[in-house]
């Protein structure tokens, strides 16, 4: 329990740093931030909208510390201000429309990639210097070196545009309304194949290599040799004895990978016009919709922090050493 609380404390600090960064970023702009920010909106927004904007960012005449406190107060209550591009919709509401899509996209991509990559890593380590071990790692390293979004572009061009096997973008067909009907679910799945698939391909190599390398160390250890000497079935030795223990480092990097994949999926969303956070974020950047941009950054950060904490819980459950030292 203490372990989880300590981690929770750490994530609280991280969230606070993100909030603080968010506060100071507009003030990084050259010149006076308030003037620079508002000069862009002059003519596009009425006085009351400007006032709302001013208050959200705490860009008032008050001293900096007071501005900061005002800003924190607003942020804690989920008030990220009002979107400029979607005026007068509050930022929180705009973000809400995209959040589920991003979690769906990045979440399923990470899980699928982790499962397949780890299994392949086990196989590559067991049949070391076999054809699998010779071909897969370099091939996947090459795929991993491709920018996510470029892989997405190629997939979209090849499988979507030229062959016409998959839809060319968006999360579901225009003529359908979101519901739980099988038809809608199938449609969403068909739209997700290319974005998810391209992220999975690009990230597979990392899981494979990490698992393979730990497996190689574990396979050389005494207890695995003992298990083999006892004449246990190879599949039992590999899965029950070696793989279970070799999995821990991969779980540790799972939390960090989430952040990376989320970042990558933002770009993938742009390629596919997928209505998630990434697409919104880029639209916000193009429209200079600063409140929306910052709100999205905060929400993504909080999502990653939450996911990391879940990974900690899983880790605690998997690793008895931490469990024992914690209790």
């Amino acid at each position: 329990m203490r372990f989880l609380l300590r981690r929770l404390g750490f994530y609280a600090v991280a969230a606070w740093v993100a909030l603080t960064l968010n506060f100071f970023l507009p003030r990084l702009m050259p010149g006076d931030p308030a003037t620079a920010l508002f000069a862009r909106f002059r003519g596009r927004l009425g006085p009351e909208a400007m006032q709302a904007l001013r208050e959200t960012f705490g860009l008032t005449q008050a001293p900096l510390w007071r501005q900061y406190l005002t800003y924190l107060d607003h942020a804690i209550h989920g008030d990220f201000g009002i979107s400029v591009a979607y005026f007068p919709t509050p930022v929180a509401q705009v973000i809400g429309t995209g959040l589920l899509w991003t979690i769906f996209l990045a979440g399923s991509a990470v899980l699928i990639s982790f499962a397949i990559g780890t299994l392949l890593g086990v196989a590559a380590a067991w049949w070391r210097r076999g054809w699998l071990d010779g071909v897969l790692p370099p091939a996947l390293v090459f795929l991993g070196a491709l920018p996510y979004f470029w892989l997405a572009m190629v997939a979209l061009y090849g499988l979507g545009f030229t062959l016409g096997w998959f839809p060319l973008g968006h999360a579901y067909s225009d003529d359908l309304t979101p519901s739980r009907s099988p038809r809608f679910v199938a449609d969403v799945a068909a739209h997700a194949v290319l974005p998810v698939g391209s992220i999975v391909l690009a990230t597979l190599g990392g899981w494979l290599l990490s698992m393979r390398n730990t497996m190689i160390t574990v396979l050389g250890s005494d207890y695995v040799n003992l298990a083999r000497a006892k004449g246990l079935h190879p599949s039992r030795v590999v899965l029950r004895y070696a793989a279970r223990n070799a999995l821990l480092p991969s779980i540790t990097s799972f939390g960090m990978a989430l952040g990376f994949v989320l970042g990558g999926s933002l770009l993938t969303e742009v390629v596919f016009s997928y209505p998630g956070q990434g697409y919104l974020l880029v639209q916000a950047v193009r429209n200079q919709d600063y409140p929306l941009m910052q709100g999205i950054f905060l929400v993504i950060t909080l999502a990653v922090l939450g996911a990391n904490w879940l990974v900690d819980v899983v880790y605690l459950w998997l690793d008895p050493r931490i469990r024992d030292s914690a209790s």
Partner: protein
């Protein structure tokens, strides 16, 4: 080669050896050499990448080997000129983040206590905050340009290096030879620069390579979103314009395919080089190679890692 002979090989020779001996490292080094050549001399050999040379979106032809862009510029010229800028930023950021990571990591690991606690908290927080969204937001606020881009990549990329280098420093700090130097009363700076840092040269090299891969990928990604200098010619802006001119939906694959392949080839070359260098820092792998060569010499095949006894399965 006998063991003492190998032990005497130090410095550049050691790295050169690793490249020559290892097939993967050799492949990687050759790929990188080609790109270095293109980056240095290429721009002298092709025309002005911004010049409008023909009808927009022409497919590859003998006249324009990689076709033309949506604006009617030569794709090959853009690719070649982009190589220089992209690689410069990539390697520059790669070096810079390792430098910062080394300063922070060594300080944390060497001094320990509260300094360690504070610095560790700092880099762990930066590690857990997703880098790309942060980079996008920072880049959106600052004036666009290559310098801004490099700065953003450094701010969002140094933490991982600091963490790894701290761990390594911590373990070196415990060794007897460091304790011995501390007892002789050497200054901290001297201990760090002449005892600790040289012991992790191979780690630092691996970090520079890894960070360069990160920097090139992230740079191309940010530029693709239009957060770089869109009037410059780099790999990322080439992709940005390709997407902007809806190359995808007009079937103009030649405007984006070559650039992505180049990004991947450079990343691939760097990764291959890294795995070859692994052996320098990892004695376990060195032993393994010696053992394998020994077995192969006697006409046997090594089946598993670091076996204690030859096995027959």
């Amino acid at each position: 080669m006998t063991a003492p002979e190998r032990g005497r090989r130090i410095g550049i020779a050691l790295w050169w050896d690793a490249i020559r001996r290892d097939r993967q490292a050799r492949t990687g080094a050759m790929v990188l050499a080609v790109f270095a050549f293109i980056g240095i001399f290429g721009p002298l050999l092709v025309g002005d990448p911004q010049a409008l040379v023909g009808i927009p979106l022409q497919p590859p032809s003998p006249h324009h080997l990689l076709g033309t862009t949506g604006q009617g510029q030569d794709v090959l010229a853009q690719l070649v000129v982009g190589t220089r800028v992209s690689l410069l930023i990539g390697f520059g950021v790669g070096f810079a983040v390792v430098l910062i990571g080394a300063i922070v990591g060594v300080t944390a690991g060497f001094y320990g206590g509260r300094i360690d606690a504070a610095l560790s908290l700092l880099f762990n927080v930066f590690l857990v905050i997703p880098g790309l969204p942060l980079a996008i937001v920072i880049a959106a606020y600052l004036p666009t340009g290559s310098f801004t881009l490099a700065l953003v990549l450094i701010v969002t990329g140094w933490a991982w290096n600091a963490r790894v280098i701290r761990a390594q420093t911590l373990s070196l700090r415990q060794r007897d030879f460091v304790a011995a130097v501390i007892v002789t009363g050497e200054s901290d700076v001297r201990i760090i620069t002449s005892e600790i840092l040289p012991m992790m040269t191979s780690l630092l090299v691996a970090q520079v390579i890894g960070s360069t891969i990160y920097a090139i990928g992230a740079q191309v990604g940010l530029e693709f979103l239009g957060l770089g200098d869109v009037s410059a010619v780099t790999w990322g802006t080439n992709l940005y314009w390709s997407q902007n001119d809806s190359a995808l939906l007009t079937g103009a694959w030649w405007t984006f395919a070559p650039t992505g392949l180049c990004v991947a080839l450079v990343g691939f070359g760097l990764s291959m080089l890294n795995s070859g260098f692994d052996e320098i820092s990892n004695p376990r792998l060195q032993l393994e190679r010696a053992w394998r060569e020994h077995l192969e010499h006697r006409g046997m095949k090594a089946s598993r890692s670091t076996p204690v006894v030859p096995e027959h399965d």
